[in-house]
Protein backbone atom coordinates (compact mmCIF):
# COMPACT_ATOMS: atom_id res chain seq x y z
CA UNK A 1 0.00 0.00 0.00
CA UNK A 2 1.05 3.59 -0.58
CA UNK A 3 0.80 6.22 2.13
CA UNK A 4 1.29 9.95 1.85
CA UNK A 5 3.03 11.05 5.01
CA UNK A 6 2.44 14.74 5.72
CA UNK A 7 5.11 16.29 7.93
CA UNK A 8 3.40 19.04 9.92
CA UNK A 9 4.30 21.50 12.65
CA UNK A 10 2.48 21.25 15.96
CA UNK A 11 2.48 23.95 18.66
CA UNK A 12 2.09 21.28 21.37
CA UNK A 13 5.22 19.39 20.32
CA UNK A 14 8.70 19.57 21.88
CA UNK A 15 10.58 22.71 20.76
CA UNK A 16 12.83 22.05 17.79
CA UNK A 17 16.34 20.99 18.78
CA UNK A 18 18.81 20.63 15.87
CA UNK A 19 20.91 18.27 17.99
CA UNK A 20 18.22 15.61 17.62
CA UNK A 21 17.32 16.34 14.01
CA UNK A 22 18.33 13.07 12.34
CA UNK A 23 16.31 13.64 9.19
CA UNK A 24 19.28 12.90 6.89
CA UNK A 25 19.81 9.51 8.54
CA UNK A 26 16.07 8.88 8.36
CA UNK A 27 15.94 9.61 4.63
CA UNK A 28 18.97 7.39 4.00
CA UNK A 29 17.53 4.52 6.00
CA UNK A 30 14.04 4.64 4.48
CA UNK A 31 15.46 5.11 0.97
CA UNK A 32 17.72 2.10 1.48
CA UNK A 33 14.74 -0.02 2.56
CA UNK A 34 12.95 0.94 -0.66
CA UNK A 35 9.92 2.25 1.23
CA UNK A 36 10.38 5.93 0.32
CA UNK A 37 9.19 6.60 -3.22
CA UNK A 38 9.50 10.37 -3.06
CA UNK A 39 9.56 13.25 -0.64
CA UNK A 40 10.62 16.82 -0.03
CA UNK A 41 10.36 19.83 2.19
CA UNK A 42 7.87 22.56 1.32
CA UNK A 43 8.70 26.27 1.29
CA UNK A 44 7.14 28.10 4.26
CA UNK A 45 3.53 29.30 4.22
CA UNK A 46 4.70 32.85 3.50
CA UNK A 47 5.45 31.56 -0.01
CA UNK A 48 2.04 29.93 -0.46
CA UNK A 49 -0.51 31.09 -3.01
CA UNK A 50 -4.21 30.45 -2.70
CA UNK A 51 -6.37 29.92 -5.77
CA UNK A 52 -10.17 29.95 -5.64
CA UNK A 53 -13.07 30.55 -7.97
CA UNK A 54 -15.94 32.26 -6.15
CA UNK A 55 -19.05 33.51 -7.92
CA UNK A 56 -17.38 32.61 -11.21
CA UNK A 57 -14.44 34.88 -10.47
CA UNK A 58 -10.84 33.78 -10.10
CA UNK A 59 -9.33 34.86 -6.79
CA UNK A 60 -5.58 34.56 -6.35
CA UNK A 61 -4.29 35.58 -2.94
CA UNK A 62 -1.45 35.18 -0.54
CA UNK A 63 -1.63 31.91 1.43
CA UNK A 64 -4.20 32.20 4.17
CA UNK A 65 -2.26 30.24 6.69
CA UNK A 66 0.16 32.87 8.01
CA UNK A 67 -1.79 33.15 11.27
CA UNK A 68 -2.22 29.40 11.79
CA UNK A 69 0.34 27.67 13.94
CA UNK A 70 0.06 24.29 12.25
CA UNK A 71 1.17 23.87 8.70
CA UNK A 72 2.55 21.21 6.38
CA UNK A 73 6.34 21.43 6.22
CA UNK A 74 6.99 18.50 3.90
CA UNK A 75 5.81 15.16 2.64
CA UNK A 76 7.04 11.66 1.92
CA UNK A 77 5.37 9.08 -0.27
CA UNK A 78 5.83 5.66 1.31
CA UNK A 79 5.30 2.17 -0.05
CA UNK A 80 4.55 -0.19 2.85
CA UNK A 81 3.20 -3.63 3.48
CA UNK A 82 0.61 -2.28 5.90
CA UNK A 83 -0.21 0.55 8.31
CA UNK A 84 2.00 -0.85 11.10
CA UNK A 85 5.03 -0.63 8.82
CA UNK A 86 4.14 2.96 7.89
CA UNK A 87 3.72 3.81 11.60
CA UNK A 88 7.13 2.31 12.38
CA UNK A 89 8.77 4.45 9.66
CA UNK A 90 6.90 7.59 10.71
CA UNK A 91 7.78 7.11 14.37
CA UNK A 92 11.51 7.35 13.56
CA UNK A 93 11.15 10.69 11.74
CA UNK A 94 12.47 13.60 13.86
CA UNK A 95 9.26 15.54 13.28
CA UNK A 96 7.29 12.86 15.12
CA UNK A 97 8.80 14.57 18.15
CA UNK A 98 9.09 18.22 17.00
CA UNK A 99 5.84 18.26 15.06
CA UNK A 100 3.47 15.56 13.93
CA UNK A 101 3.06 13.17 11.05
CA UNK A 102 -0.16 12.29 9.31
CA UNK A 103 -0.42 9.04 7.37
CA UNK A 104 -3.01 9.08 4.59
CA UNK A 105 -3.52 6.02 2.41
CA UNK A 106 -3.36 6.80 -1.29
CA UNK A 107 -6.77 6.28 -2.89
CA UNK A 108 -5.96 5.29 -6.50
CA UNK A 109 -8.11 7.21 -8.94
CA UNK A 110 -10.29 4.97 -11.04
CA UNK A 111 -12.29 6.83 -13.74
CA UNK A 112 -14.70 3.87 -13.95
CA UNK A 113 -15.76 4.29 -10.33
Amino acid sequence: MQYMMFVATDPDADPYDPQYDNVVAWVDEVNASGARLQGDRLRPVEDATLVRIRGGELLVTDGPFAETREWIAGYDLLECENLDEAIAIASKHPMARFGRLELRPIWPFDPAE
Binding site: M1, Y3, C80, E81, N82, L83, D84, A86, I87, L103, P105, W107
Partner: protein, 421 residues
Protein backbone atom coordinates in the same frame (compact mmCIF):
# COMPACT_ATOMS: atom_id res chain seq x y z
CA UNK B 1 -18.40 -35.03 10.87
CA UNK B 2 -22.10 -35.06 11.73
CA UNK B 3 -23.77 -37.44 14.08
CA UNK B 4 -26.44 -39.45 12.26
CA UNK B 5 -28.97 -38.81 15.00
CA UNK B 6 -31.60 -36.15 14.37
CA UNK B 7 -31.99 -33.52 17.12
CA UNK B 8 -35.10 -31.91 18.57
CA UNK B 9 -35.82 -28.26 17.88
CA UNK B 10 -34.93 -27.37 21.48
CA UNK B 11 -31.62 -29.24 21.26
CA UNK B 12 -30.79 -27.47 18.00
CA UNK B 13 -31.59 -24.05 19.45
CA UNK B 14 -29.44 -24.76 22.50
CA UNK B 15 -26.56 -26.08 20.37
CA UNK B 16 -26.66 -23.08 18.02
CA UNK B 17 -26.80 -20.68 20.97
CA UNK B 18 -23.80 -22.43 22.56
CA UNK B 19 -21.90 -22.37 19.27
CA UNK B 20 -22.71 -18.69 18.93
CA UNK B 21 -21.27 -17.95 22.36
CA UNK B 22 -18.21 -20.19 22.08
CA UNK B 23 -17.33 -20.31 18.38
CA UNK B 24 -18.37 -17.01 16.79
CA UNK B 25 -14.93 -15.41 17.07
CA UNK B 26 -13.24 -18.46 15.64
CA UNK B 27 -15.61 -18.84 12.67
CA UNK B 28 -15.58 -15.12 11.93
CA UNK B 29 -11.80 -14.92 12.39
CA UNK B 30 -11.24 -17.81 9.99
CA UNK B 31 -13.51 -16.11 7.44
CA UNK B 32 -11.66 -12.80 7.67
CA UNK B 33 -8.43 -14.66 7.01
CA UNK B 34 -10.07 -16.58 4.15
CA UNK B 35 -11.78 -13.65 2.40
CA UNK B 36 -9.76 -10.63 3.56
CA UNK B 37 -13.09 -8.81 3.67
CA UNK B 38 -14.66 -8.04 7.07
CA UNK B 39 -18.16 -7.34 5.77
CA UNK B 40 -18.27 -10.45 3.60
CA UNK B 41 -16.89 -12.48 6.50
CA UNK B 42 -19.63 -11.16 8.76
CA UNK B 43 -22.43 -11.93 6.27
CA UNK B 44 -21.14 -15.45 5.68
CA UNK B 45 -20.68 -16.18 9.38
CA UNK B 46 -24.22 -15.02 10.08
CA UNK B 47 -25.49 -17.12 7.20
CA UNK B 48 -23.73 -20.22 8.52
CA UNK B 49 -25.49 -19.86 11.89
CA UNK B 50 -28.84 -19.48 10.10
CA UNK B 51 -28.15 -22.69 8.15
CA UNK B 52 -27.18 -24.50 11.34
CA UNK B 53 -30.63 -23.69 12.72
CA UNK B 54 -32.25 -25.10 9.57
CA UNK B 55 -30.12 -28.19 9.12
CA UNK B 56 -28.93 -29.51 12.46
CA UNK B 57 -32.47 -30.77 13.18
CA UNK B 58 -32.39 -33.30 10.35
CA UNK B 59 -28.64 -33.81 9.96
CA UNK B 60 -27.91 -34.00 13.66
CA UNK B 61 -25.70 -31.69 15.71
CA UNK B 62 -22.13 -31.92 14.40
CA UNK B 63 -19.43 -33.27 16.66
CA UNK B 64 -17.48 -30.12 16.01
CA UNK B 65 -19.94 -27.24 15.49
CA UNK B 66 -17.15 -24.71 14.94
CA UNK B 67 -15.68 -26.73 12.08
CA UNK B 68 -19.13 -27.24 10.51
CA UNK B 69 -19.88 -23.51 10.74
CA UNK B 70 -16.48 -22.53 9.33
CA UNK B 71 -16.74 -24.86 6.35
CA UNK B 72 -20.33 -23.75 5.67
CA UNK B 73 -19.38 -20.08 5.90
CA UNK B 74 -16.43 -20.61 3.54
CA UNK B 75 -18.63 -22.30 0.95
CA UNK B 76 -21.01 -19.38 1.21
CA UNK B 77 -18.14 -16.93 0.69
CA UNK B 78 -17.07 -18.72 -2.47
CA UNK B 79 -20.66 -18.65 -3.76
CA UNK B 80 -21.00 -14.95 -3.07
CA UNK B 81 -17.71 -14.04 -4.73
CA UNK B 82 -18.47 -16.31 -7.69
CA UNK B 83 -21.89 -14.75 -8.18
CA UNK B 84 -20.53 -11.21 -7.95
CA UNK B 85 -18.42 -12.21 -10.97
CA UNK B 86 -15.79 -9.52 -10.49
CA UNK B 87 -12.95 -10.71 -8.32
CA UNK B 88 -11.78 -13.66 -10.34
CA UNK B 89 -8.24 -13.70 -8.95
CA UNK B 90 -9.49 -13.71 -5.41
CA UNK B 91 -11.99 -16.45 -6.24
CA UNK B 92 -9.28 -18.67 -7.72
CA UNK B 93 -7.23 -18.26 -4.56
CA UNK B 94 -10.20 -18.99 -2.33
CA UNK B 95 -11.23 -22.10 -4.25
CA UNK B 96 -7.66 -23.40 -4.21
CA UNK B 97 -7.45 -22.76 -0.50
CA UNK B 98 -10.80 -24.46 0.08
CA UNK B 99 -9.78 -27.55 -1.89
CA UNK B 100 -6.53 -27.66 -0.02
CA UNK B 101 -8.02 -27.41 3.44
CA UNK B 102 -11.55 -28.77 3.30
CA UNK B 103 -10.97 -32.49 3.71
CA UNK B 104 -8.73 -31.86 6.70
CA UNK B 105 -11.14 -29.25 7.98
CA UNK B 106 -14.08 -31.63 7.72
CA UNK B 107 -12.21 -34.23 9.69
CA UNK B 108 -10.31 -32.30 12.24
CA UNK B 109 -10.71 -28.53 12.12
CA UNK B 110 -12.37 -28.66 15.50
CA UNK B 111 -9.31 -30.23 17.04
CA UNK B 112 -6.75 -27.81 15.71
CA UNK B 113 -6.61 -25.56 18.75
CA UNK B 114 -3.55 -23.63 17.63
CA UNK B 115 -5.34 -22.46 14.49
CA UNK B 116 -8.40 -21.51 16.54
CA UNK B 117 -6.27 -19.50 18.94
CA UNK B 118 -4.46 -17.69 16.14
CA UNK B 119 -7.69 -16.64 14.46
CA UNK B 120 -9.19 -15.34 17.68
CA UNK B 121 -6.01 -13.50 18.70
CA UNK B 122 -5.72 -11.89 15.25
CA UNK B 123 -9.25 -10.61 15.67
CA UNK B 124 -8.68 -9.32 19.21
CA UNK B 125 -5.53 -7.41 18.26
CA UNK B 126 -6.92 -6.02 15.02
CA UNK B 127 -10.10 -4.75 16.71
CA UNK B 128 -7.96 -2.92 19.30
CA UNK B 129 -5.66 -1.27 16.75
CA UNK B 130 -4.69 2.21 17.96
CA UNK B 131 -5.54 3.76 14.57
CA UNK B 132 -9.23 3.04 15.22
CA UNK B 133 -11.23 5.43 17.42
CA UNK B 134 -11.73 4.00 20.93
CA UNK B 135 -15.51 3.66 20.63
CA UNK B 136 -15.07 1.76 17.36
CA UNK B 137 -12.55 -0.60 19.01
CA UNK B 138 -15.01 -1.37 21.77
CA UNK B 139 -17.96 -1.88 19.39
CA UNK B 140 -15.94 -3.96 16.94
CA UNK B 141 -14.62 -6.19 19.72
CA UNK B 142 -18.17 -6.84 20.93
CA UNK B 143 -19.42 -7.53 17.41
CA UNK B 144 -16.63 -9.71 16.11
CA UNK B 145 -14.95 -11.30 19.14
CA UNK B 146 -17.94 -11.58 21.51
CA UNK B 147 -20.38 -12.14 18.62
CA UNK B 148 -23.04 -9.72 19.91
CA UNK B 149 -25.59 -8.55 17.35
CA UNK B 150 -25.38 -4.91 16.25
CA UNK B 151 -28.80 -4.29 17.83
CA UNK B 152 -27.59 -5.68 21.19
CA UNK B 153 -24.46 -3.49 21.15
CA UNK B 154 -26.59 -0.46 20.27
CA UNK B 155 -28.87 -1.21 23.23
CA UNK B 156 -25.93 -1.61 25.62
CA UNK B 157 -24.39 1.70 24.53
CA UNK B 158 -27.76 3.46 24.45
CA UNK B 159 -27.50 4.56 20.82
CA UNK B 160 -29.75 3.71 17.89
CA UNK B 161 -29.07 0.61 15.85
CA UNK B 162 -28.45 2.80 12.79
CA UNK B 163 -25.76 4.76 14.67
CA UNK B 164 -24.04 1.60 15.89
CA UNK B 165 -24.27 0.03 12.46
CA UNK B 166 -22.58 3.10 10.94
CA UNK B 167 -19.86 3.03 13.60
CA UNK B 168 -19.09 -0.61 12.84
CA UNK B 169 -19.17 -0.02 9.10
CA UNK B 170 -16.73 2.90 9.35
CA UNK B 171 -14.38 0.80 11.49
CA UNK B 172 -14.42 -2.12 9.03
CA UNK B 173 -13.84 0.31 6.17
CA UNK B 174 -10.87 1.90 7.92
CA UNK B 175 -9.30 -1.50 8.53
CA UNK B 176 -9.47 -2.20 4.80
CA UNK B 177 -8.65 1.25 3.45
CA UNK B 178 -5.92 2.29 5.89
CA UNK B 179 -4.18 -1.08 5.59
CA UNK B 180 -4.55 -2.14 9.24
CA UNK B 181 -3.01 -5.63 9.19
CA UNK B 182 -5.02 -8.66 10.31
CA UNK B 183 -2.49 -10.34 12.53
CA UNK B 184 -1.04 -10.87 15.95
CA UNK B 185 1.53 -8.07 16.22
CA UNK B 186 5.23 -8.97 15.91
CA UNK B 187 7.35 -9.11 19.12
CA UNK B 188 8.47 -5.47 18.82
CA UNK B 189 4.85 -4.28 19.07
CA UNK B 190 3.25 -6.93 21.24
CA UNK B 191 3.72 -5.21 24.63
CA UNK B 192 2.19 -1.93 23.43
CA UNK B 193 -0.63 -3.58 21.59
CA UNK B 194 -1.48 -5.94 24.43
CA UNK B 195 -1.83 -2.87 26.67
CA UNK B 196 -4.24 -1.51 24.04
CA UNK B 197 -6.34 -4.67 24.07
CA UNK B 198 -6.46 -4.64 27.89
CA UNK B 199 -7.61 -1.00 27.83
CA UNK B 200 -10.48 -1.88 25.46
CA UNK B 201 -11.62 -4.75 27.68
CA UNK B 202 -11.36 -2.71 30.87
CA UNK B 203 -13.29 0.16 29.28
CA UNK B 204 -15.99 -2.35 28.33
CA UNK B 205 -16.09 -3.49 31.95
CA UNK B 206 -16.26 -0.03 33.52
CA UNK B 207 -18.90 0.99 30.97
CA UNK B 208 -21.07 -1.84 32.27
CA UNK B 209 -20.09 -1.30 35.90
CA UNK B 210 -20.53 2.40 36.52
CA UNK B 211 -24.11 3.62 36.52
CA UNK B 212 -23.45 7.24 35.62
CA UNK B 213 -26.05 9.73 34.46
CA UNK B 214 -28.78 7.52 35.82
CA UNK B 215 -27.96 4.80 33.33
CA UNK B 216 -28.58 1.31 34.61
CA UNK B 217 -25.73 -0.99 35.55
CA UNK B 218 -25.32 -3.20 32.53
CA UNK B 219 -24.19 -6.53 33.90
CA UNK B 220 -24.10 -8.07 30.42
CA UNK B 221 -21.34 -5.67 29.33
CA UNK B 222 -19.32 -6.36 32.47
CA UNK B 223 -19.82 -10.10 31.95
CA UNK B 224 -18.71 -9.90 28.30
CA UNK B 225 -15.62 -8.02 29.49
CA UNK B 226 -14.89 -10.76 32.04
CA UNK B 227 -15.31 -13.40 29.34
CA UNK B 228 -12.95 -11.51 27.00
CA UNK B 229 -10.39 -10.98 29.78
CA UNK B 230 -10.53 -14.71 30.50
CA UNK B 231 -10.10 -15.53 26.82
CA UNK B 232 -7.13 -13.18 26.47
CA UNK B 233 -5.54 -14.49 29.67
CA UNK B 234 -5.93 -18.07 28.46
CA UNK B 235 -4.65 -17.39 24.94
CA UNK B 236 -1.70 -15.17 25.82
CA UNK B 237 -0.87 -16.17 29.42
CA UNK B 238 0.22 -12.53 29.63
CA UNK B 239 0.64 -11.53 33.32
CA UNK B 240 -1.28 -8.28 32.80
CA UNK B 241 -4.11 -10.13 31.05
CA UNK B 242 -4.35 -12.34 34.13
CA UNK B 243 -4.10 -9.21 36.29
CA UNK B 244 -7.02 -7.64 34.41
CA UNK B 245 -9.05 -10.83 34.74
CA UNK B 246 -8.42 -10.83 38.50
CA UNK B 247 -9.35 -7.15 38.75
CA UNK B 248 -12.68 -7.48 36.91
CA UNK B 249 -13.59 -10.67 38.79
CA UNK B 250 -12.88 -9.05 42.16
CA UNK B 251 -14.81 -5.87 41.30
CA UNK B 252 -17.73 -7.65 39.69
CA UNK B 253 -17.99 -10.00 42.68
CA UNK B 254 -19.46 -7.06 44.65
CA UNK B 255 -22.17 -6.25 42.11
CA UNK B 256 -25.15 -7.52 44.18
CA UNK B 257 -24.16 -5.26 47.09
CA UNK B 258 -23.29 -2.11 45.09
CA UNK B 259 -26.82 -0.90 44.43
CA UNK B 260 -29.52 -0.82 47.13
CA UNK B 261 -33.22 -1.54 46.69
CA UNK B 262 -33.81 2.10 45.75
CA UNK B 263 -31.17 1.95 43.01
CA UNK B 264 -28.66 4.03 45.00
CA UNK B 265 -24.91 3.39 44.99
CA UNK B 266 -23.75 1.76 48.21
CA UNK B 267 -20.18 2.72 49.18
CA UNK B 268 -17.74 -0.12 49.74
CA UNK B 269 -17.57 0.31 53.54
CA UNK B 270 -21.36 0.02 53.85
CA UNK B 271 -21.90 -2.93 51.52
CA UNK B 272 -23.41 -6.17 52.85
CA UNK B 273 -20.47 -8.52 52.31
CA UNK B 274 -22.76 -11.55 52.53
CA UNK B 275 -24.00 -10.55 49.05
CA UNK B 276 -20.53 -10.71 47.49
CA UNK B 277 -19.86 -13.57 45.07
CA UNK B 278 -17.55 -15.91 47.00
CA UNK B 279 -16.73 -18.05 43.94
CA UNK B 280 -15.61 -15.05 41.85
CA UNK B 281 -13.60 -13.72 44.81
CA UNK B 282 -11.84 -17.08 45.24
CA UNK B 283 -10.89 -17.11 41.51
CA UNK B 284 -9.66 -13.52 41.72
CA UNK B 285 -7.64 -14.11 44.89
CA UNK B 286 -6.00 -17.16 43.32
CA UNK B 287 -4.92 -15.09 40.28
CA UNK B 288 -3.58 -12.36 42.56
CA UNK B 289 -1.59 -14.88 44.61
CA UNK B 290 -0.08 -16.37 41.45
CA UNK B 291 0.90 -13.03 39.86
CA UNK B 292 4.64 -12.82 39.10
CA UNK B 293 6.56 -9.82 40.47
CA UNK B 294 7.22 -7.07 39.56
CA UNK B 295 3.54 -6.60 38.85
CA UNK B 296 2.01 -4.40 36.17
CA UNK B 297 -0.72 -1.83 36.91
CA UNK B 298 -3.67 -4.22 36.41
CA UNK B 299 -2.14 -6.86 38.68
CA UNK B 300 -1.54 -4.22 41.38
CA UNK B 301 -5.07 -2.84 41.08
CA UNK B 302 -6.31 -6.42 41.38
CA UNK B 303 -4.24 -6.82 44.54
CA UNK B 304 -5.90 -3.67 45.96
CA UNK B 305 -9.36 -5.05 45.09
CA UNK B 306 -8.28 -8.32 46.72
CA UNK B 307 -7.47 -6.55 50.01
CA UNK B 308 -11.03 -5.20 50.11
CA UNK B 309 -12.64 -8.45 49.00
CA UNK B 310 -10.82 -10.65 51.51
CA UNK B 311 -11.59 -8.41 54.50
CA UNK B 312 -14.47 -9.91 56.53
CA UNK B 313 -15.67 -6.39 57.41
CA UNK B 314 -14.79 -2.82 56.37
CA UNK B 315 -13.06 -2.27 59.73
CA UNK B 316 -10.88 -5.34 59.18
CA UNK B 317 -9.44 -3.93 55.91
CA UNK B 318 -5.62 -3.97 55.87
CA UNK B 319 -5.14 -0.32 54.90
CA UNK B 320 -1.37 -0.41 55.42
CA UNK B 321 -1.14 -3.13 52.77
CA UNK B 322 -3.30 -0.98 50.46
CA UNK B 323 -1.01 2.05 50.95
CA UNK B 324 1.97 -0.12 49.98
CA UNK B 325 0.12 -1.30 46.86
CA UNK B 326 -0.67 2.29 45.81
CA UNK B 327 3.07 2.95 46.08
CA UNK B 328 3.63 0.11 43.61
CA UNK B 329 1.39 1.73 40.94
CA UNK B 330 2.67 4.20 38.33
CA UNK B 331 1.98 7.54 40.02
CA UNK B 332 -0.65 9.95 38.76
CA UNK B 333 -2.99 12.39 40.54
CA UNK B 334 -5.87 9.89 40.87
CA UNK B 335 -3.56 7.24 42.34
CA UNK B 336 -2.17 9.85 44.77
CA UNK B 337 -5.72 10.75 45.79
CA UNK B 338 -6.68 7.16 46.51
CA UNK B 339 -3.43 6.66 48.33
CA UNK B 340 -4.20 9.64 50.56
CA UNK B 341 -7.52 8.03 51.55
CA UNK B 342 -5.72 4.77 52.35
CA UNK B 343 -3.11 6.68 54.41
CA UNK B 344 -5.95 8.33 56.32
CA UNK B 345 -7.48 4.95 57.08
CA UNK B 346 -4.15 3.34 58.01
CA UNK B 347 -2.49 6.14 59.98
CA UNK B 348 -5.26 8.54 60.94
CA UNK B 349 -7.01 11.59 59.50
CA UNK B 350 -4.09 14.01 59.94
CA UNK B 351 -1.70 11.73 58.03
CA UNK B 352 -4.29 11.41 55.24
CA UNK B 353 -4.78 15.18 55.07
CA UNK B 354 -1.00 15.67 54.98
CA UNK B 355 -0.76 13.23 52.03
CA UNK B 356 -3.54 15.17 50.31
CA UNK B 357 -1.78 18.51 50.98
CA UNK B 358 1.41 17.08 49.47
CA UNK B 359 -0.53 16.43 46.28
CA UNK B 360 -1.49 20.12 45.88
CA UNK B 361 -3.99 20.92 43.12
CA UNK B 362 -2.95 19.03 39.96
CA UNK B 363 -4.47 20.66 36.84
CA UNK B 364 -6.15 17.37 35.88
CA UNK B 365 -8.17 17.44 39.11
CA UNK B 366 -8.68 21.19 39.60
CA UNK B 367 -12.21 21.32 38.20
CA UNK B 368 -13.42 17.88 39.33
CA UNK B 369 -15.26 16.91 42.51
CA UNK B 370 -12.47 14.53 43.52
CA UNK B 371 -10.30 16.83 45.69
CA UNK B 372 -13.08 18.26 47.88
CA UNK B 373 -14.77 14.84 47.97
CA UNK B 374 -11.60 13.16 49.23
CA UNK B 375 -10.79 15.83 51.81
CA UNK B 376 -14.41 15.85 53.00
CA UNK B 377 -14.46 12.09 53.23
CA UNK B 378 -11.22 12.00 55.24
CA UNK B 379 -12.63 14.58 57.69
CA UNK B 380 -15.96 12.77 57.94
CA UNK B 381 -14.31 9.45 58.67
CA UNK B 382 -12.13 11.18 61.27
CA UNK B 383 -15.27 12.49 62.99
CA UNK B 384 -14.54 16.16 62.06
CA UNK B 385 -18.05 16.55 60.69
CA UNK B 386 -18.36 20.35 60.81
CA UNK B 387 -15.21 20.75 58.72
CA UNK B 388 -16.37 18.04 56.30
CA UNK B 389 -19.71 19.66 55.39
CA UNK B 390 -18.50 22.59 53.18
CA UNK B 391 -16.14 20.26 51.31
CA UNK B 392 -18.85 17.70 50.66
CA UNK B 393 -21.11 20.54 49.51
CA UNK B 394 -18.44 21.68 47.06
CA UNK B 395 -18.04 18.09 45.85
CA UNK B 396 -21.80 17.80 45.38
CA UNK B 397 -21.80 21.03 43.39
CA UNK B 398 -19.15 19.62 41.03
CA UNK B 399 -20.38 16.01 40.90
CA UNK B 400 -20.73 14.69 37.34
CA UNK B 401 -23.95 12.68 37.72
CA UNK B 402 -27.22 12.51 39.60
CA UNK B 403 -26.21 9.30 41.42
CA UNK B 404 -23.11 10.99 42.86
CA UNK B 405 -25.10 14.10 43.81
CA UNK B 406 -27.56 12.00 45.79
CA UNK B 407 -24.63 10.24 47.44
CA UNK B 408 -23.12 13.56 48.63
CA UNK B 409 -26.57 14.78 49.74
CA UNK B 410 -26.80 11.76 51.97
CA UNK B 411 -23.29 12.24 53.38
CA UNK B 412 -23.96 15.96 54.07
CA UNK B 413 -27.20 15.07 55.87
CA UNK B 414 -25.38 12.46 57.96
CA UNK B 415 -22.69 14.99 58.91
CA UNK B 416 -25.33 17.60 59.91
CA UNK B 417 -27.21 15.05 62.03
CA UNK B 418 -24.01 13.86 63.69
CA UNK B 419 -22.75 17.39 64.28
CA UNK B 420 -25.94 18.65 65.93
CA UNK B 421 -26.45 15.42 67.87
Amino acid sequence: MTAAVAATAAEVRAAVAAAHRDEWARVFGALVRFTGDWSLAEDCTQDAYARALERWGTEGIPRSPGAWLTVTARRRAIDVVRRSGVETDKLRLMVADQQLTTPAADLALGDVDAEWEDDVLRLIFTCAHPALPMEARVALTLRTVAGLATSEIARLFLVSEATMSQRLLRAKRKIAEAGIPYRVPPPALIADRTAGVLAVIYLLFTEGYAPDDGRPVRDELAEEAIRLAGLLARLTQHPEARGLLALVLLQHARRAARIDAGGELVPLDEQDRQLWDAVAIASGLRLVAEAPHPRGPYAVQAAIAAEHDRAPSADATDWAAIVALYDELPQNPVVALNRAVAVGMAEGTDAGLAALDALGVPPALAATHLLPATRGELLRRGGRLREAIPLLEEARHRAPGAAEQRYFDRRIAECRDGDSG
